[in-house]
């Protein structure tokens, strides 16, 4: 299913929801008075008009309940059972599926991978593009900007799995262009994807290629949104370019910084799934696996539906906690322009 990143706008969504709900009482229950004056008994047409809002939202809500809310409940139920998907009966095992994870070395490796992805990709996907954006700021008005942007953004619009296929060819140990380029510098052949020490970095490289330009553009847009008045006032006071960057621009783009940070932490492991599955299938020796890939293998390779459901509940709870933290701390402690 599409990976839609929830955004800073979530909070604005709820804010505007309350603000605007009262703003259009006029549009409520349109021309009901016309119907009352023309008929005594409630006519079919009138009933239909009253029900219209509900009919309009019904398809969406029905689908949301059936394919998002109900699965959430059903998943927590399945996590308490031992079931292999084909057995006619599910066996109730209480919290066994959860406690068994604690003893599963493969789960430990999945957790380790999950943290490696986060720890490696936070500096690479969150901080590096910020540094680049601040560096590129002086040349933002250059004629080549549009071409730069199109090129840097292009990996964002293609599928992770297809991106991984392109990189599979680049990483090929015998014929891949990467090893050939390195060979000209005298570097010996590296088995990028089958070496335990390099495989996860190959996946991380694909994830970086896929996201760096996008994050760079996010930061550039945030920099552009900084009000010019502030900058002009500061420069009239004799602030240097560097001082302006440090004391005005950077504080004002901290919301974007935290947004990129939180969404990276939340979604990076989800994002790399396609790359893992194409490049390494979690291997070698589970060195590139993560919690999402572990869930996939438990559920759809070993048909441990209970265990997979337990993992999905853990993923859900973690996401809820991280989102809550985002609202509770991040949004309060950052500067808004």
């Amino acid at each position: 299913m599409g990976s839609i990143r929830s955004s800073v706008s979530q909070s604005t969504a709820t804010a505007t929801a309350t603000a605007t709900a009262g703003a259009q009482p006029a549009s409520a229950v349109p021309h009901l008075h016309l119907a009352t004056s023309s008929t005594r008994r409630p006519s079919f047409g009138r009933l239909l008009e009253g029900a219209t809002p509900y009919l309009l939202v019904a398809p969406l809500l029905l689908l949301i309940i059936v394919f998002i809310y109900w699965p959430l409940i059903y998943s927590s139920y399945l996590s308490l059972f031992d079931w292999n998907f084909v057995k006619p009966n599910k066996t109730f095992v209480g919290l066994d599926n959860y406690t068994r994870l604690i003893d599963d070395p493969r789960f430990h490796r999945a957790l380790r991978g999950t943290f490696v992805y986060v720890l490696a990709l936070v500096p690479i996907q969150v901080i590096l593009p910020l540094v680049l954006a601040l560096m590129l700021w002086p040349i933002r008005k250059a004629k080549a900007q549009t071409s730069y942007r199109i090129m840097l953004f292009s990996p964002t619009v293609i599928a992770y799995s297809v991106a991984a296929v392109m990189w599979l060819w680049i990483f090929n140990p015998l014929q891949g262009v990467l090893n050939k380029v390195l060979a000209t510098f005298g570097v010996e052949r590296i088995h990028w994807l089958s070496d335990r020490d390099t495989a996860i970095w190959a996946v991380i490289a694909v994830a970086t290629w896929k996201t760096l330009g996008f994050h760079l553009l996010l930061y550039m847009a945030a920099l552009e949104a900084v009000p010019n008045d502030y900058v002009e006032a500061a420069s009239l006071d004799g602030a240097s370019n560097w001082q302006i960057m440090r004391s005005i621009r950077f504080p004002l783009i901290t919301p974007t910084f935290f947004f990129v940070l939180v969404t990276t932490v939340i979604s990076v492991n989800d994002d790399v799934f396609g790359a893992i599955n194409v490049l390494t299938e979690g291997g070698p020796f589970d060195s590139t696996t993560n919690i999402i890939y572990y869930l996939y293998q438990q559920g759809f390779k070993y048909f441990q539906i209970g265990a997979a459901s337990a993992v999905s509940m853990l993923v859900f709870l973690t996401t809820v906690i991280l989102t809550w933290l985002q609202f509770r701390f991040v949004e309060r402690h950052v500067h808004y322009g």
Binding site: I4, T18, P53, L132, L136, S161, V165, L168, S312
Partner: protein, 293 residues
Amino acid sequence: MASTAASTMVPRTMSQKRRDQLGRALLHAIVIVLCFLTIFPFFWMLSTSFKIPTEIFTKDIQIFPHTPTLRNYPNAFRTFPVERWLWNSFGIAVLTTLGKLAISVPAAFAFSRLKFRGDKLLFAMVLATMIVPGVVTVVPNYVMVSRLGWLDSWTGVIIPSLPATAFYVFLLRQSMLTLPQDLIDAAKLDGSSTMQMLWQIVMPNVRPAIAVVMILSFLGAWNQYLWPLLVLNDFESKTLATGMQYFTSNQDSAQMWGPMMATAVIATIPPLAVFALAQKQIISTFVTSGIKG
């Protein structure tokens, strides 16, 4: 603009100006290297797709094909049912886009322009789905879809992915809220029903937002991976994003890389074409909303 304001404060000498120019040149050089690294995998895929096997497995680096060939494209279609995958990707992406529009436009209209009992609660229910990662519902949805007999079908891929539209509903609602109340009132005075109002007044006026939603959901559906990977097990029912994997089973053969890269080219053309056609809107929507395809 700000930096020019700052620079006029201090009179500049020639050497300072030259240093500035040098600095800019250096920055351009850095971006150009970055752009080159970003574009290279695309270029390499394209170049390989036009190479004959003996030019694919070489001793040295061969940037361009010496004897360019189109053979890899028909070969790809001969090796695997790529035309079926292409058709599946296309059909699923188009129908998902239409389905998402069909459920999100009316809902956005109701949530922005109509008042009804429970509207705030229902809207909150829609927005709350944004914190549920897709992977969390994958196991129970798979159980449900297989019971419904929807495995290996477009229906099985499309229907469960339709409700992931909270962000689109939000986007459309924001756009509908900006419409002037007079417009709605005038329609009401003309005696048009709520449905007519939506169809004749609201929809034509929020075309840009609808276009954005269409583009985003097309890209999302074309690129989706995990869900179709689970639902579509049959060889012929795969999409391009999920079917490409069959090529990777034979990586030691020079015969395989050409068709594989040709298929990758086919899989990247539609999203890149959509991007080329609407790059300004796509970049600005992605950037302001922080979403990814």
